[in-house]
Symmetry: C2
Subunit: 199 residues, 2 copies
């Protein structure tokens, strides 16, 4: 069975990825289990951050690697929180937590009428650290930033990420339902299709 | 009609792109017509070179931009000519021409049994130079490097790029046939699909 390292230490993410990759005869291993630490994510694109993480994990392990970079983009806020989604409050003196991030987001949107936003997930696969042809799969999920939290599932900005078509926030969706339509779920499906067709 | 700058000065490429983008209500303009010069392509991935060219053209014009980076990868040669495909002979003291590049390629493969190779095309679209979500579309075209040239069409390595399924080299395909199955044709179709679905 081919081994691929997942450049993440998130156990929930690993389980989701493993389920989708098993039919391809691929065993996914979290980088933490191989002793790989965190790497810098200094770029303003999800693409370049994911590429950097994939290369770092592949370099450290000698295995092909998959990395994911994702976040919430609110055009009326100039794209914030963007690549800083996980540490949005931190960048402004707050703590690193979902609740602090959401509080900063609501505050920033207080007097703004255009509350549209989209989640983006960018996945990058490299066969080795010097791979001239990294495989990229990126997907979007459009919604609006609600004024009040709803729902118990998900994480991050999900309780405020309202989906007009469904009349629900992302945190009101069961995990399986979310995975089938979310930015990350769509990006994973794209990546699988690309890898199946890969030279 | 929305204007997009094409980060290329190749007239053949412009015509091919224009034909495909017209139905989207998009007018493509070559960067040369807007006074944009060449930019550096210092990376070892097609992806990062295309991203750099797209940003450069968008920064210079204030328009959304599409860039393309493409080349031939021969695994038995460690990936050469790769991102240096257009200047392969030049990097070894030869001249910048298709015939010099092909001569160097044949020489490098002289004693190598595994003559498999693939063309890759990577297209990148940015809405502006600081776009946090560049759109990437990449495609491959697999073949073998023939020992003798055949065909009058195409350019670059096409006369030596043999397609076993068709029993022809890429240079023996009529332009329309080549565009429908080539790396660049496939990447363009992917990019169109991505842009139609774009947030």
């Amino acid at each position: 069975m081919q081994k691929i390292v997942l450049a993440s230490n998130n156990k929930g993410k690993l389980a989701e990825f493993q389920q989708l990759f098993a039919p391809l005869g691929v065993e996914l291993i979290n980088q933490g289990a191989l002793g790989v630490g965190e790497c810098e994510e200094p770029y303003f694109t999800f693409l370049e951050n994911a590429l950097t993480k994939a290369r770092f994990a592949s370099q450290a392990t000698g295995l092909p690697a998959i990395a994911d970079d994702s976040g919430l983009v609110v055009p009326a806020l100039g794209g914030a929180p963007g690549v800083l989604s996980a540490r949005y409050a931190q960048t402004q003196g707050g703590e690193k937590s979902d609740s602090a991030n959401n509080a900063y987001l609501l505050k920033a949107l207080e007097n703004i009428a255009d509350r549209r936003g989209f989640y983006v997930a960018c996945l990058v696969f490299v066969r080795h650290a010097d791979d001239p042809c990294p495989i990229v799969a990126q997907a979007f999920w459009s919604g609006e930033i609600a004024r009040e939290a709803r729902g118990e599932y998900g994480f991050g900005y999900d309780p405020y990420f309202y989906l007009p078509d469904l009349g629900k926030t992302a945190a009101e969706l069961l995990p399986e339902q979310k995975n089938s339509i979310s930015h990350r779920g769509q990006a994973l499906q794209k990546l699988l299709a690309e890898l199946k067709a890969y030279v």
